[in-house]
């Protein structure tokens, strides 16, 4: 069964059609790639799925339920989490606090209890702390827990974003160019990491990535966008063999990445 389905999704910004008539589904447990040249509309699709933008037309279903008009926080509650292409950490907070904010969702307590700092709050706070450190450990960030988020090197900031998203206990994880700015060794390591957490946390993953080696390594299924419309869809081989894709994007890009 598809965990997520987009049906004829369209988004316009004034005159710009960022994506048009996009339909696809992601089977549960799969890693799917979403690729396409710059400005193709990939991030826009993430923003539509996560409720950051509202749809111009179309519907989105998550585990069979219509989620088209839900708010981001409601979608998170259903089990959708994401990272951002242009990293959006809470920059002035510590690495630990960044993850804590995400963990908080799993251990709720009432406002009144918080103000009185009842014993139940204290024990939940301890649990929050414990869980947050576990997620940091899972991403290899334990040593940096006390550092300010914006003091981390770029690569670690991306990992922290992933840690924060995982801490929401999602069923569907959307990763927006997690390997951006990484060299081939780093991106290979990141690919291994993504595969590991995908299995470990029982995720379904939708991945936007320009590093074709990462995409080809991880994704069983790929959806190709160009100028907001679907160009091709299928497994890695089908997509790589598609002449349209080769012409529009993959051909040059892949060869360059391969060299």
């Amino acid at each position: 069964m598809d965990i997520l389905r987009l049906e004829a999704v369209t988004k316009r910004f004034g005159g710009i059609v960022a994506c048009k008539d996009i339909s696809f589904g992601i089977p549960e447990g799969r890693i799917m790639g979403l690729i396409g040249p710059n400005g193709a509309g990939k991030t826009t699709i993430f923003n539509l799925i996560t409720g950051v933008y509202s749809l111009t037309a179309g519907r989105i279903y998550f585990r069979g339920a219509d989620i088209t008009r839900l708010r981001p926080d409601e979608l998170v509650a259903l089990g959708i989490a994401r990272t951002f292409q242009n990293i959006r950490l809470f920059r002035n907070l510590t690495v630990l606090d960044n993850v804590r904010i995400a963990v908080d969702r799993n251990l709720p307590y009432s406002f009144g209890a918080a103000l009185a700092r009842l014993p139940s709050v204290l024990s939940k706070e301890r649990a929050v702390y414990r869980q947050a450190t576990e997620y940091l450990a899972a991403l290899g960030l334990s040593g940096r827990a006390g550092d300010r988020a914006d003091s981390l090197p770029y690569g670690l900031q991306r990992k922290l974003e992933i840690a924060r998203a995982l801490a929401l206990k999602p069923k569907l994880l959307l990763l927006d160019e997690p390997a951006a700015g990484m060299n081939p060794e780093e991106s290979a390591e990141l690919a291994r990491l993504i595969r590991r957490i995908h299995g470990e946390f029982g995720l379904t993953t939708l991945l936007i990535e320009h590093h074709m080696d990462v995409v080809m390594e991880l994704c069983e299924q790929i959806y190709v966008l160009n100028f907001g419309v679907k160009l091709a869809e299928g497994d890695a081989e089908t997509v790589q063999g598609n002449p349209d894709v080769l012409r529009a994007y993959l051909g040059e890009g892949y060869k360059r990445a391969g060299n």
Binding site: F13, G14, T43, N47, V52, Y53, S54, F84
Partner: protein, 290 residues
């Protein structure tokens, strides 16, 4: 009676529109509410009053002086209170606090040095009436309507046809792209504040003539902010329409209901509007790029 009320309403609405346009102009570029705008209007009125009454200059020259004075002060305001924040890319909260600080500083500086006295323009200017279709209409109101619309039209023309104007409009869509295309942002922002200041000077003059000149007269910009929200924050046509609507409705309320609840009415209007039409009449709901 109704015609008279409508004309008065349009006159005050025209002044609201002037102020709201000045405020929206800054908002559309720098994305923050310039709460110092009221004190620039107040200073413009003082400058105009001084030129007319103390320096004995003709009215037209005094108005011009007030416009230029306020434009300069508004420009100075940006250089001193906002430019560093702009270069630091500070959050809009910081801009708002800085603006608020400027307003408090200027208002109380006038209060502490010039004093809290109310200065009135001579009655020859403020109290003339003409009879029109049986209604007695203030000459000042007619002037306010004519001059507000002329000024707004001139601004519109400037934004549509001059190089700087086109750059300003481009920047209001996307500052970053504008910067990438080699537009000198500091110069551009300077222009925006000069223009907004000029409108402040003109509205300060009219407000001074209508209600007298005093340190806290700038507080009337509250109405301009409300007008801008009614029209849709950041939209210039919205500011004009919002100003006119607010001016006319307020005058109707204070004529036919009670002048005491006029301000409560404006506020309630704002709250109700936010509930039913959060983005205002002309607010293009911009989804910020994520």
């Amino acid at each position: 009676m109704l015609i008279q009320t409508l004309v008065t309403g349009l006159a005050i609405g025209g002044i609201y529109a002037l102020m709201a346009v000045g405020y929206s102009l800054v908002f559309s570029i720098l994305n923050f509410s310039n709460f110092a705008y009221g004190s620039i209007i107040m200073l413009g009125a003082y400058v105009g009053y001084y030129l007319l009454m103390k320096a004995g200059l003709p009215l037209a020259v005094s108005v011009a002086g007030s416009v230029m004075g306020a434009a300069f002060l508004c420009y100075l305001n940006e250089r001193m209170a906002y430019s560093t924040l702009r270069k630091r890319n500070a959050a809009s909260l910081y801009f708002m606090i800085s603006a608020m600080g400027t307003a408090i500083f200027l208002e109380n500086l006038v209060y502490a040095t010039i004093g809290s006295r109310f200065y009135a323009f001579p009655e020859i200017i403020t109290q003339q009436n003409i009879t029109f279709w049986g209604a007695s209409i203030g000459v000042l109101d007619v002037f306010a309507i004519v001059f507000s619309f002329t000024a707004i039209y001139m601004l519109h023309y400037f934004l549509q046809h001059s190089r700087v104007g086109i750059a300003i409009r481009a920047a209001s869509y996307d500052m970053q792209v504008c910067q990438l295309n080699g537009v000198n942002i500091t110069r551009l922002v300077g222009w925006v504040f000069l223009l907004a200041g000029a409108l402040a000077g003109l509205s300060g003059m009219f407000l001074g003539m209508k209600y007298m000149v005093y340190p806290t007269m700038g507080w009337i910009t509250n109405k301009a902010y409300i007008a801008a929200v009614i029209g849709g924050l950041g939209s210039l046509p919205g500011a004009v329409v919002g100003g006119l609507i607010l001016g006319v409705l307020e005058t109707l309320v204070s004529t036919y209901v009670s002048s005491v609840i006029r301000d409560v009415f404006s506020f309630s209007l704002l709250v109700v509007l936010l509930l039913v039409l959060p983005t205002g009449l002309f607010g293009k709901y911009l989804e910020e790029k994520v």
